[in-house]
Amino acid sequence: MNQLNLEGTNKTPTISFHAETGTLEIKGRSIPENSVEFYAPLFLWIDAYVAQPKGDTRVLVQLEYFNTSSSKCLLDIFRKLEPLHQSAKSKVTVSWLYEEEDEDMMEAGDDYQTIVKLPFTVAKVIL
């Protein structure tokens, strides 16, 4: 297992998952009509990673736009990592970044923070 790299498009985010360092980044926009299909390869990667995790797992989400079906997929990603964190095999942290003035994105991060059982920080992007 090494890394998963998906180049972003105008409907899908750039995804890079470095299993070696335990870092997963999701950046850009996520508004595909078929979110489940789009996120399926990442779900498989996460399942494989969870079986052989690093001591620290860092997830970084920095989205400009995301649609509601992607919002569900993002939650599924976090849900897959909750047992890993609870098992103490890996310390999982999530950073949710939003652009200055993008209060809706900040609010979305705050909402995830309340329902996801992982250390979760919501912060403004420093340009």
């Binding site: 105008n10 409907k11 508004i31 009509e33 078929n34 979110s35 489940v36 299909e37 400009e64 736009y65 649609n67 509601t68 079906s69 919002s71 569900k72 997929c73 939650l75 652009e99 003035e101 993008d102 209060e103 809706d104 994105m105 609010e107 909402d111 309340t114 329902i115």
Partner: protein, 177 residues
């Protein structure tokens, strides 16, 4: 012949950004998002408002895409939508598509319920649905309509026209300030 210039002038006067009737495909939607995005860019809309407009457009059109049905009279799943500028720099999105008549009552109940909710109540309702529902095969989780109501900040205007025993035509009109 039909006076196309008259139609053009009327649409121009009503500040219609885009009008479409036909089959809604992923490729079509990609183009529509680009058109709307560049229009909002050209209008120098403030970031937050631009994002809100864009997201409502995406959710409204994906709502059509995920739920459109084929009526008996048609060989495809036709739909209609119109995106226009309104008074005080608002944005209007109107959509229409055929749906299974079985969905009519639950959709009516949900919209009526949301129309009585405050912004904070809608946020809590959305969060509850997000954490408790599963995505359907079509990729929806019933979250789209909630997000539309939240971002719109206005009551959702809608109607159903019964077409047959199986289908109704669902019209939704959303104003975003």
């Amino acid at each position: 012949m039909t006076d196309i210039f008259k139609t053009y002038s009327e649409m121009e006067q009503e500040d219609i950004i885009l009008a479409f009737k036909g089959d809604v495909t992923q490729e079509l939607l990609s183009s529509v998002y680009s058109i709307v995005e560049s229009r909002l860019e050209n209008d120098h809309e403030a970031l937050r408002k631009k994002k809100k407009f864009y997201q409502v457009v995406v959710e409204c059109l994906q709502n059509v895409y995920h739920h459109m049905e084929q009526p008996e009279s048609s060989a495809s799943k036709p739909a209609i939508f119109l995106i226009a500028r309104g008074k005080d720099n608002s944005l209007h999105i109107m959509t229409g598509n055929f749906i299974s008549i079985a969905k009519r009552d639950s959709l009516t109940t949900q919209i009526e319920k949301m129309n009585t909710m405050t912004g904070e109540e809608l946020r809590a309702y959305h969060l509850d649905k997000l954490s408790s529902t599963q995505l359907s095969e079509k990729g929806g989780a019933g979250l789209g309509i909630i997000e539309i109501a939240r971002k719109s900040g206005n009551k959702l205007d809608y109607r159903f026209d019964t077409i047959s025993e199986q289908h109704a035509f669902f019209s939704l009109s959303v104003t975003v300030n």
